[in-house]
């Protein structure tokens, strides 16, 4: 699918993108399929020249561009916006006035990322990683996935005409496996947890040279999540909210959304203003929330996650320490949410707002309520909750894992079958009333 050509110029990459730099020790690396610092093993990040990026990225220039993540191209780490790819981003920011009081909030916006091409925010990260993969000439796209990334990688590869290899825990939700298969990906189930899958893929990436979006393309992949911040700020009329609530799995998206707001301040596109960052994890796999509650940034890995929230079930999160630092530095929190509470939050947002998120969305909304009870969210605060995936991916979650997601007679809201006659209908309605 073609993407419209932008109507205003973007500076060339060589001026704008300085290179890669180690987040830990600051050592510089050239742009390439590298993701780890050769000196200290720390994570590599993309470094920009913001003077160059800011010269062309103005409110007026952005307004004149086509919808989607590439309207912020100056702050994305690719040489040029791709000529092929799925239409990702520019999802709506919706006022959730009916849900807000249920969560104890005065003002709540929902960033509805359930409606990206493969139905999750991962399309943002993958679009950027895939664009770089094409520039690097990799022979295949691949990923280690808890499910949402599987669909996003498979869909992006299909659109680009690349083979896709998707590694998943063998017991992943069937809907997510089918989703990746539908796009023509080769799905490799691995006997073990997500962390086992990830460790295997670290070695596979080294040996095959495939472009693993969240491993050897990770510096670029991580940048895609910043577009959530850009879109929230633009939707609010170029300003930031008081609180951002997001799910935390590896912690990469949580920390990059914060970076996105910082960049907008740096470029003068929004006014500097404190934002509190609240993260949500499932209580059955909460290494980051546990560390935050204990007042440490040392993440103790969880060996055997036990939660319906598979999309957040990372026991050994790479950016966990940075997520704790972000919550502490901004006056936020990292909340651990029980599965029953997550399921209730999914039901509430669906019936009150018409938005049906997957489990991570339930965690996020419940984390907002928990942060409100804790006093992190205060009277009058304007809160933005990032709902990052679609409920059709986790159909059994709404009924807390006891059902298969298919409504049956006796379920609240489901009428018994009736004959196709008005009298049968009226008898049922009369009995019901």
């Amino acid at each position: 699918m073609a993407i419209e050509t932008r109507s205003s110029p973007v500076s060339t990459a060589s001026e704008r993108i300085v290179g890669l730099r180690c987040r830990n020790c600051g050592r510089a690396e050239p742009i390439g399929l590298s993701y780890v610092c050769l000196a200290c093993f720390g994570p590599l990040e993309v470094e920009y020249d913001y003077a160059v990026a800011g010269a062309t990225l103005t409110h007026q220039a952005i307004a004149a561009r086509a919808p989607g993540i590439w309207r912020y191209a100056e702050l994305l780490p690719v040489d040029a916006s791709p000529s092929r790819g799925l239409p990702v981003g520019s999802t709506p920011l919706l006022a959730a006035d009916r849900l807000a009081p249920v969560l104890g909030l005065d003002r709540l916006w929902i960033k509805d990322d359930t409606r990206n091409p493969s139905l999750s925010f991962k399309d943002r990260a993958v679009a950027v990683a895939a664009a770089r993969a094409v520039e690097f000439g990799v022979e295949a796209l691949a990923c280690a996935s808890t499910g949402n990334l599987a669909g996003a990688t498979a869909a992006a590869a299909a659109a680009l005409g690349l083979p896709a290899y998707v590694f998943i825990p063998a017991d992943l939700e069937p809907a997510k496996v089918d989703h990746a298969l539908a796009y023509g990906a080769t799905v490799v189930p691995v006997e073990g947890t997500y962390d086992d899958v990830n460790r295997l893929c670290l070695e596979v990436a080294d040996e095959t040279g495939w472009g693993f979006v969240n491993i050897n393309l990770r510096p670029f992949y991580a940048e895609g999540s910043k577009t959530l911040a850009y879109e929230v700020a633009e939707s609010l009329g170029w300003r930031s909210p008081d609180v951002v609530v997001a799910p935390v799995a590896s912690g990469a998206m949580f920390t990059r959304v914060a970076r996105g707001f910082e960049e907008l301040v740096e470029l003068g596109l929004i006014a500097p203003r404190p934002i509190r960052f609240v993260g949500g994890q499932a209580a059955g796999c909460a290494p980051v929330a546990t560390a935050w509650a204990a007042g440490t940034d040392v993440i103790e890995p969880v060996r055997t996650p036990d939660t319906i929230v598979r999309s957040l079930a990372i026991g050994n999160p790479a950016d966990g320490r940075y997520a704790v630092e972000l919550a502490n530095a901004t006056g936020g929190s990292i909340e651990a949410i029980d599965d029953e509470v997550t399921a209730a939050a999914i039901r509430d947002v669906a019936r009150l707002e018409g938005i049906y998120p997957e489990t991570a969305g339930g965690v996020t909304l419940a984390a907002a309520a928990a942060a409100r009870r804790r006093g992190v969210i205060r009277d009058g605060d304007e809160v933005v909750a990032l709902l990052t995936g679609n409920g059709l991916k986790t159909p059994d979650a709404r009924t807390l894992g006891h059902g298969d997601g298919i409504a049956r007679p006796g379920e609240p809201g489901l009428a018994p079958s009736i004959r196709p006659s008005l009298s049968a209908f009226e008898r049922w309605l009369g009995g019901e009333a």
Binding site: N198, E203, I215, A318
Partner: protein, 90 residues
């Protein structure tokens, strides 16, 4: 002698070797033995506190040693230790 698998990031320090046979009865001793064989690995593997750098994860026969006895985990001759960057996340 246990086997240590070396990721590409560390192979410059091992003269390109993908795996190295190293003596030692615990993970700590094996890592120390590896550094004796290839001294330039020390700056990459060992943090300021003398333990493994927090960006390095060690896996004994594919299990994270933090789920075992960490650096004190016993290592036998048939065991394989893998050193990988701490880089997990979907």
């Amino acid at each position: 002698m246990s086997t240590v698998r070396i990721p590409p990031t560390l192979r410059a320090a091992t003269g390109g070797a993908k795996q190295v046979e190293v003596p030692g009865g615990t993970v700590r001793e094996v890592v120390a033995g590896l550094i004796v064989l290839h001294p330039s690995l020390e700056s990459q593997l060992i943090g300021p506190d003398g333990d493994l750098n927090r960006f390095v994860n060690a896996f004994l026969n594919d299990t994270d040693v933090r789920h075992l006895d960490a650096l004190d985990t016993p290592v036998g001759d048939a065991d394989t230790l893998v050193l990988l960057p701490a880089m997990a996340g979907g």
